[in-house]
Assembly symmetry: C2
Homo-oligomer: 413 residues x 2
C-alpha cells in the first residue's frame, strides 16, 4: 500500500500546488467591449475592414498646444510630482472650473491617474465592504469593476430607453435606499446613454442625497459635450451639497487625450479630500508628462471646442437619422457625450455582435458594436440593445450604418 | 413644545447631514514621510536649508535617450494604449528580463501605472477581504495602504537590525501561516532596509510557498542596485514557482524616472495574468507618454548603470562610515537599493525628526529623516530607528551627517 499512498500524496500535493485566485478576482467583470476583441482580430486576419462603433476612443486630434508642451519638455530628472498633482496644474484647473461656473479652490482638487482612479479613490473614501452605491442603469461598465475591486455592491435603478434614459422617478431611488447605501453615482452626460441631466434632475438628486445623508458622486468627464444649446449643470453648482458632492473628471474626452491618464477628484468636503489624499499618497503621484500636457491643454482656444461640438452634433444627427430609417431599430436623440443606446430587432446583441465579426461582411467590410448587456447589472436587461459611439468621421459612420442595416436584413436569430 | 421639537429636528437633520468617511478610509495610513511635510514647509519659511535624507526620489538624471524619445513624439491623437501595455514595449521588456536571466514572454507581462498599481492588482487577484499576507518587517510603508484599500491584513514577520535585516528564520513564517494566509511579500533589494536576499534565502521562501501553497510576491524595483559585486536573484529565476511567483517591477528607480508611473506585473501563472488583465481593463490603460519613455529607456547603455552603481556605492560607503562615527548610532552595511535603517540614541524618532525641522539648525541648515516606525506594523517597533536614503550627492551627504551628529549632541529626550 505504501507506494499507492505515496502516489496519492504526490497527486494531493500537486493539486494543492495551485494557489487560488481570489473570489474578488473571479468576480471582476470582463470588459464588455474587449471580450469581442478576439473575433475582431480574426476578422482582421480575414482582411475584413471593421468599422469600430464599439469604443470610446475619439478620432479628434488632441490640442496641438498640449502635444507641443510635452515635445518641448526640458526634464533632466523625471521626478515624482506631489501626490495631489502639481500645484501649477491644480491652480489653473480651478480657473477652468471657474469658467464653467464651478467655484472650487486648488485644495479641493486631487489630480488622479485618469477618472478611473478618481472613482476608485472615491469608493475607498465613502464605502466599506458590503456597502451599496445606487447607479442609474445602464451605466459605464467599469463602475462594476471599481466596485468589485473595492468590495462595494452596485444597486441599479433602471432608466428606460422609452424615456430616453432620463432620471428614474425619485421614488424608485427611495425604494432601494437601505442603511448600507452610501451614495448615488451618476454619469452626466451619460456613457452609454448620451443623456444629459437637467438642472431640475440634479436638484432632485441633491434633495434625496441630503434627505438620506448620501454622497452624490457625478462622473462629469463628458461635460463639454452638450448639444443643441443645452448647458451642463454640475453637482458642484448646486448650493447646499458642500459635504455631499464628489465630482469625477478627466482630460481623456475633453481634449481627446485618453492616453494621458489624467483625471481629478473634486470636492468641497475637507474630510473627503484628506482621506482621498491618503489613497493618493499610497500610489505616490500621477504621471508627470501627462500633467504637462493637461496643464497646457487648459489654454486650448474655444474654437477647438466649437469645432468639436459642431462635428459631434453633425455625426449624432446623421447617425440617429440613418439608424431610425432601419426597420425595428429604436433610438432616442442623445443630448450629450458621444454615445447612444440603440435597440435592435435581435434577441441577443452579444450573439449578434459576434456574428457581425465572425460571419458577416458587406463587400469585405463589417462593424463592431458594444452589446449593451455589459452596461446593465440587472440580469437579462439590455439584451437587445447596443451602445454605439460616434467617434468615426461622417463618411465612415454612413458606411457603418449601411453595413448594420444590411446585416440586420440577413440576420436570423 | 412644537417649536422646540422643530429645533430639535433641525439640529438632528444638521447632524445627519454629514455623510461619513468609510472605516477603510479612516484606516488608510498617512505617509510616514509626508506627514512631516508641514514642519519642513515651516523650516523653509524660516530660510533653513533642509537636507532631505527622507525621500526615495533619486537625484540621478533620467536616461537622455528616454527623455529625447518623448520630446520627439509625433502624436496627433493621444489614444488609449492596450490595457496590458503596448505590445512593442512588452516585447522589448521581455528582452530586458532575458538579459537578467529571467525568461518570460510578453504575455506574462502586464504594464501598470507604477509598481504601486502592480501591487494593487496583485492583492486584488490573490486575496479576499480578511485574507492575510505575510511581509518581513520593516517594509515599504505603502504596502499597508494597498492592503487597507484591498481589505487585506498585513501580518509582519520581524527582521532584526542586529541581523542586518536578513530573512527571518523560516520557523517564524510558519508560526504565522493560517488558512487565511495567501502570500508572502518581499521587497528585494529592500526598501527601507537595503537588504539583498541571497539565492539561498529566495530558495527557502520558495520552499515554504510551495509547501503551504502560497503566492510568493517579490517587489524587485531595486534590482539594478546591488553592490559589492553581489548579484540579484529574482523569484522568477527559481524553477518550480511558475504558479506561485508574482514579480512587481517599475522604471521609477531603475532609470530615475519616478514621475513616469510605469511599472509591471510579471507572472507565469496564466490565471493570475487573466485576472490581473480584468483589473487592468477596468482602468483602461497605463499612460502613453510614459510608455514611450520606458520603451526608449530599455536602450540605455550599460555605462549609465555602471556610473550609477559606482556613485551609489561611494555614497553608501561614505554614509555608513560617517554614521558609524557618531556615538550611539547603529547601522549595518546595506547591500542593495539606496536606503539604510539607522538606530539612533533617541527614544522616539518621530519626535526627533520633528524637532530637527522645528527647533534645530546648524548654521541655518538641518536634515529631514524618515522615522522608521512607519515602516513597521508591530506597534512600538522601530521607534529609535530612521530610514536614510542616500539620494544626495556626496558633499551634501557629508554635510547632512555632520548636522545629524551635532543635532544628536544637543538633543535631549
Amino acid at each position: 500500500m505504501i507506494p499507492y499512498l505515496c502516489l496519492y500524496n504526490a497527486i494531493l500535493t500537486f493539486v494543492l500546488l495551485m494557489p487560488a485566485i481570489s473570489k474578488k478576482g473571479l468576480q471582476m467583470p470582463e470588459s464588455p467591449i474587449r471580450k469581442l476583441a478576439p473575433y475582431a482580430e480574426q476578422a482582421y486576419k480575414e482582411n475584413k475592414k471593421v468599422y469600430h462603433l464599439n469604443i470610446g476612443q475619439p478620432d479628434i486630434k488632441s490640442p496641438q498646444i498640449a502635444m507641443d508642451a510635452v515635445a518641448k519638455h526640458s526634464i533632466d530628472v523625471l521626478a515624482y510630482s506631489p501626490s495631489e498633482g502639481s500645484n501649477a496644474y491644480r491652480e489653473k484647473l480651478a480657473g477652468y472650473y471657474k469658467s464653467k461656473n464651478i467655484a472650487v479652490t486648488p485644495d479641493q482638487i486631487i489630480v488622479t491617474t485618469g477618472g478611473s482612479e478618481a472613482l476608485l479613490f472615491t469608493m475607498g473614501c465613502i464605502a466599506d465592504i458590503g456597502d451599496e452605491i445606487i447607479i442609474p442603469e445602464p451605466f459605464y461598465a467599469n463602475y462594476i469593476g471599481f466596485a468589485k475591486a473595492s468590495g462595494v455592491a452596485v444597486v441599479p435603478v433602471v432608466s428606460k430607453i422609452e424615456d430616453n434614459f432620463a432620471l428614474p422617478p425619485i421614488e424608485d431611488f427611495e425604494l432601494l435606499i437601505t442603511t448600507k447605501t452610501k451614495a448615488i453615482l451618476i454619469c452626466n452626460p451619460g456613457n452609454p446613454t448620451g443623456y444629459l441631466y437637467s438642472k431640475e434632475e440634479i436638484q432632485k438628486l441633491a434633495k434625496i442625497a441630503l434627505k438620506h445623508d448620501l454622497y452624490l458622486v457625478a462622473d462629469e468627464v463628458y461635460r463639454e459635450f452638450a448639444y443643441d444649446g443645452a448647458s451642463h449643470y454640475s453637482i458642484l453648482q448646486e448650493a447646499g451639497l458642500e459635504e455631499h458632492a464628489i465630482m469625477i473628471d478627466s482630460v481623456s474626452k475633453r481634449y481627446s487625450m485618453c492616453g494621458a491618464r489624467i483625471g481629478c477628484l473634486v470636492s468641497r468636503n475637507p474630510k473627503i479630500m484628506a482621506t482621498a489624499l491618503k489613497f493618493a499618497q499610497a500610489r505616490l503621484s500621477p504621471p508627470t508628462f501627462a500633467q504637462i500636457a493637461s496643464e497646457a491643454a487648459l489654454a486650448t482656444p474655444q474654437s477647438y471646442f466649437d469645432d468639436v461640438l459642431e462635428e459631434y452634433t453633425e455625426r449624432r444627427n446623421l447617425l440617429v437619422e440613418k439608424l431610425k430609417e432601419i426597420p425595428g431599430v429604436n433610438i432616442g436623440l442623445p443630448k450629450g457625450a458621444f454615445y447612444c443606446i440603440a435597440q435592435l430587432p435581435v434577441k441577443d446583441t452579444d450573439v449578434f455582435a459576434q456574428w457581425l465579426l465572425e460571419k458577416f461582411d458587406l463587400n469585405g467590410e463589417t462593424v463592431m458594436v458594444a452589446p449593451a448587456a455589459g452596461f446593465y447589472s440587472t440580469p437579462g436587461a439590455g439584451k437587445n440593445q447596443v451602445r454605439i459611439a460616434y467617434v468615426l468621421n461622417k463618411e465612415s459612420l454612413v458606411k457603418a450604418v449601411d453595413i448594420l442595416r444590411a446585416a440586420l436584413e440577413s440576420y436570423n436569430d
